[in-house]
Structure formats: structure tokens, C-alpha cells
Symmetry: C2
Subunit: 251 residues, 2 copies
């Protein structure tokens, strides 16, 4: 089993879109996959067609009250893909966690109970607070989606600094799975410039697959579907399928 | 003087882009304007062409060490537009503020010292943590940029809940200036659907001006320029100019 955190404190870079659609194609490749929605906005939960307001419990209760993950597990419409959902109650978690014992390891304890999956993907909020720290402490690897835009490069230094702190103290095994370029706009020079800078920085750790900007990707969640069922021949679907194959190859 | 917080915990919805370009056109209209960059990513600072690594001090020192705002004040290339910058040191502020006396009022104390401006705009990070709470406590009004995408509607409930809590306790005068639709894509049905839902929710509080998706807007910060100097006849520039006039009219 491999646990991968999808992180970047810059907002709107396609963390949720990448979590959902990479997970969908890992599942289609026959890998048993679990998504953990660790963002209080619950976009991964609603993007998979789950009505958050119907849920009595979510990741919050598993983290704070210690209920078992099986009590909140949801099977999605995609074969081999399950979800641990988030609701608005998760918004209060960070403040409550501050004063809890082993506050950085609450998610690790939960993940250590989980069996029967090939991949666990954790969708993170756009911050480097306790929820994201919990995700990094609970993971073997992390993937950094990077939007092909100017501001995308700004926060990378801060992100890597935080990760190094976690590697020194909380999780020495933590390793970069890859940097993923997202929302590439082939008509814009800026996109190519950002890709070139990221490749110079992360070298071979940048995925060969670059996710293009594609309207279909932003429409799919409004139908509660992954791109693999909503528009399987679109350029966004083809890209996430190629990404899944690269992630599996990286072993 | 009017202080307006630009907030939305959803990431990548154009908080920074709206702060910079609205401020630029308020300044062009002859209003003395100050931007406070309250996001540790410092995108408003770098988007205005300021090299964050050159700065010895920033908003962090004014909040935590109590130095006066004049010690960190930067005049920008745009006449009538000044900046209180953010650097990476601001990333540590939230954790330090948790145990400080009147931790929600640290920015308010700073803003109460400031004179000589018609508008102060505060760019916030994509979260509802202590930095954003400080911004809401220090402001007379707030503007909510909302991306014309499906996930945009998800977090509004949580945002308004947090604002009501602040109105009850910390800042009863806090008032919505307006909801601003951003990155409108006229070729996509989804965009029009989101606008219709937001107008049904916020009614006349939604600005008439809708900001279109425009490549020029995402290029301008890579040159350290506002849209008013980078591409003054582009549709993004025309939209932010119209927005500034609407904000002034709202009084
Ligand atoms: N390749 C793409 N092409 C077009 N739109 C995209 C693409 N990837 C993501 N989007 C859209 O861009 C917006 C931001 O993506 P998403 O919400 O996945 O980012 P995020 O990093 O999870 O945001 P947050 O920081 O708020 O968690 C969404 O509306 C999404 O539908
Ligand atoms: N109208 C627009 N058309 C095209 N691109 C835009 C537009 N507005 C913003 N952008 C681009 O979209 C990205 C997100 O915008 P921005 O960084 O301003 O959002 P934000 O809400 O401040 O993000 P964060 O949540 O990380 O603070 C940036 O790369 C920006 O250049
Ligand atoms: Mg997300
Ligand atoms: Mg911003």
C-alpha cells in the first residue's frame, strides 16, 4: 500500500481535480484506491457526487473522536475507488487539534489501521496548517500540483521548507513522488516558461505528463463524475490516464 | 477612509488579482489607496514588482513586534498606490498569534494608526485562520471574489458562518461591500449557471461588473505590473476599471 499526499498551499492549482482523476484512473488500472478528503471545503467529496449534507460523520470524527474508518467509508460510482469524506465539521478540527496529544499523528493512526488498498490519496487544503502536516506525517510520498502561472513558483520554497522540517522530525521516510504541471495553456508563452523553470528546479521528478487546461475537467464535478466517465476521450482524461500509468511505473 | 478585506477560503479565485487591479484603478480615480498583503505567499507584494527577498521587514514585524507601519511602507510604481508587503516570515505568524493577548485585534491596532488614505485593501490567504480573522476584525467591509466554477459555491456557507461569528463578537460594523464574479468564460454554460446562482443568493450585493477570463491578467504579475499599465485596453483592464467605479459609487 502506498499513501500519497496531494499538497500545495497555493490555492486553486488543481489539487482536488488531480486527486479525483488520478484516483479514478488508478482504479481503472485495477488498483484498489482510497481518497481521504482532508479539506474542510469537501470538494473531493462533492466532486465524487456525494452530498455532504447527508453525512452524519466524516474524517473529523475519525480524527478527533477516534471512530474507525470503516464507519465513514463510502464506495463511489467508480469500481475500486472508495472515499473517506469531509464535511463542514472538519473546519473546526485544526483549532481543536492544536491542544491534543500527538496532534501531528492523528491521521497517521487512522491510516495505519487501513488495509486492502494499493493506493491512498489525501486531498489537502490550501495551507500548511495542522491538517496538511497530518497528511505529510501519514504519507509515504507527496505529489505537488503546480499551475502553469506566474504565482505558482512563489510558494514552492516555503512548501519545501515545511516538508524538510517534517522529514527531520515527524516522518523521515517522506519522499517526493513528483511535481505535476497543471492547467497548461499551449497558446500562452507564460505556461511554457513556468514549465521550463519547474523542470530546472525539480529535474527528473517532474512528471512527463502535463495536464492541459480543459473545460471538461471543470464541468465534470458539477455532475458528480470523474473525467473518466464524464468525458473519457477529452484531452484532460487522456492526460490523467497517462499520469496514472506514470505513478504506477514510479513504483 | 474605508478598509475592505478581500476574502474567500477557496483557493485561486482571484483574491490577489482583484486586490491589485481594483487598487490600481481606485488610485487612477484619484483615491489614495493602500494594499496590505496578509498572505504569507506574498503574491500581492511580488505582483506589484517588489522583490520580497530584498525586504528586511514586513507586515509580520508590524503585527508581532509592534513596529509602526511607516517603517515597512512601500510606494509602488502606480501613483496614489502604496503597499505594506508580506514575506515568508509571515508564515510563522498564525502559530505565534494563537497565544498572544487580543490575538484577533493585532491588525486592527495597526490599521487604527494609519491616516491619509481613502481606501485600504487587505489581500487574504485561502483559509479562515487567524490572519483572515484579523483582516475581518480590522475592516469596515469585505469583498468576496467568486470564480465562475462549480466548486466556487461550496465554501460560501462556511465563509458566511465565520463572518456572522465575527459580526456578533469582534466587529459588529462589518458589512458586505459586494460579491465579485471572476474568470467568467463566456463560452462555458457552467459560468452563466454559477453567476445565476450567486445572484439568487447575494441579490443586489453582486457587482454588475463581471471579470472575464483574460490571459493578460495572468501575465501582468510576471512583469510586476498592474493591468492598468500592462494592458490598459484589455477586457480584464476594462472590467477592473468599471469595478473601481462601482466600489466608489457604493460609497
Ligand atoms: N486542467 C484544468 N483545466 C480547466 N480547469 C481546471 C483544470 N484543473 C482544475 N480546474 C478547475 O480549476 C479550479 C481549481 O481547481 P481545484 O479546485 O481542483 O484546485 P485546488 O488546488 O484543489 O483548490 P483549493 O486550493 O481551493 O483546494 C476548479 O474550478 C477546477 O474545476
Ligand atoms: N480573470 C482572470 N483571467 C485569467 N487568469 C486569471 C484571472 N484572475 C486571476 N487569474 C490567474 O488565476 C490564478 C489565481 O488567481 P489569484 O492568485 O489572484 O487567486 P487567489 O484567490 O489570490 O489565490 P490564493 O487562494 O492562492 O491566494 C493566478 O495565476 C492569476 O494570474
Ligand atoms: Mg481543493
Ligand atoms: Mg492570493
Amino acid at each position: 500500500m502506498k499513501t500519497i499526499a496531494i499538497i500545495n498551499q497555493k490555492g486553486g492549482v488543481a489539487k482536488t481535480t488531480s486527486t479525483i482523476n488520478l484516483a479514478a484512473y488508478l482504479a481503472i488500472e485495477g488498483k484498489k484506491t482510497l481518497i481521504i478528503d482532508l479539506d474542510p471545503q469537501g470538494n473531493a467529496t462533492s466532486g465524487l457526487g456525494v452530498n455532504r449534507f447527508d453525512l452524519a460523520r466524516c474524517v473529523y470524527e475519525a480524527l478527533i473522536d477516534g471512530i474507525t474508518y470503516k464507519d465513514i467509508l463510502i464506495t463511489t460510482k467508480v469500481k475500486n475507488l472508495d472515499l473517506l469524506p469531509a464535511t463542514i465539521s472538519l473546519a473546526g478540527a485544526e483549532i481543536e487539534m492544536v491542544n491534543m496529544e500527538s496532534r501531528e499523528f492523528l491521521l497517521r493512526r487512522l491510516v495505519d489501521e487501513i488495509t486492502g488498498y494499493d493506493y491512498i490519496l489525501i486531498d489537502c487544503p490550501p495551507s500548511l496548517g495542522l491538517l496538511t502536516i497530518n497528511a505529510l506525517t501519514a504519507s509515504d510520498q507527496y505529489i505537488v500540483p503546480i499551475q502553469c502561472e506566474y504565482y505558482a513558483l512563489e510558494g514552492l520554497g516555503q512548501l519545501l521548507k515545511t516538508i524538510n522540517l517534517i522529514k527531520q522530525g515527524l516522518n523521515p521516510e517522506l519522499d517526493l513522488n513528483g511535481a505535476l504541471m497543471t492547467m497548461f495553456n499551449s497558446t500562452q508563452n507564460l505556461s511554457s516558461q513556468v514549465v521550463a523553470e519547474v523542470r530546472a528546479f525539480f529535474k527528473e521528478k517532474v512528471f512527463d505528463t502535463v495536464i492541459p487546461r480543459s473545460v471538461r475537467l471543470s464541468e465534470a464535478p458539477s455532475y458528480g463524475e470523474t473525467i473518466s466517465t464524464y468525458a473519457p476521450t477529452s484531452k484532460g482524461a487522456i492526460a490523467y490516464e497517462a499520469l496514472a500509468k506514470e505513478v504506477i511505473k514510479r513504483g
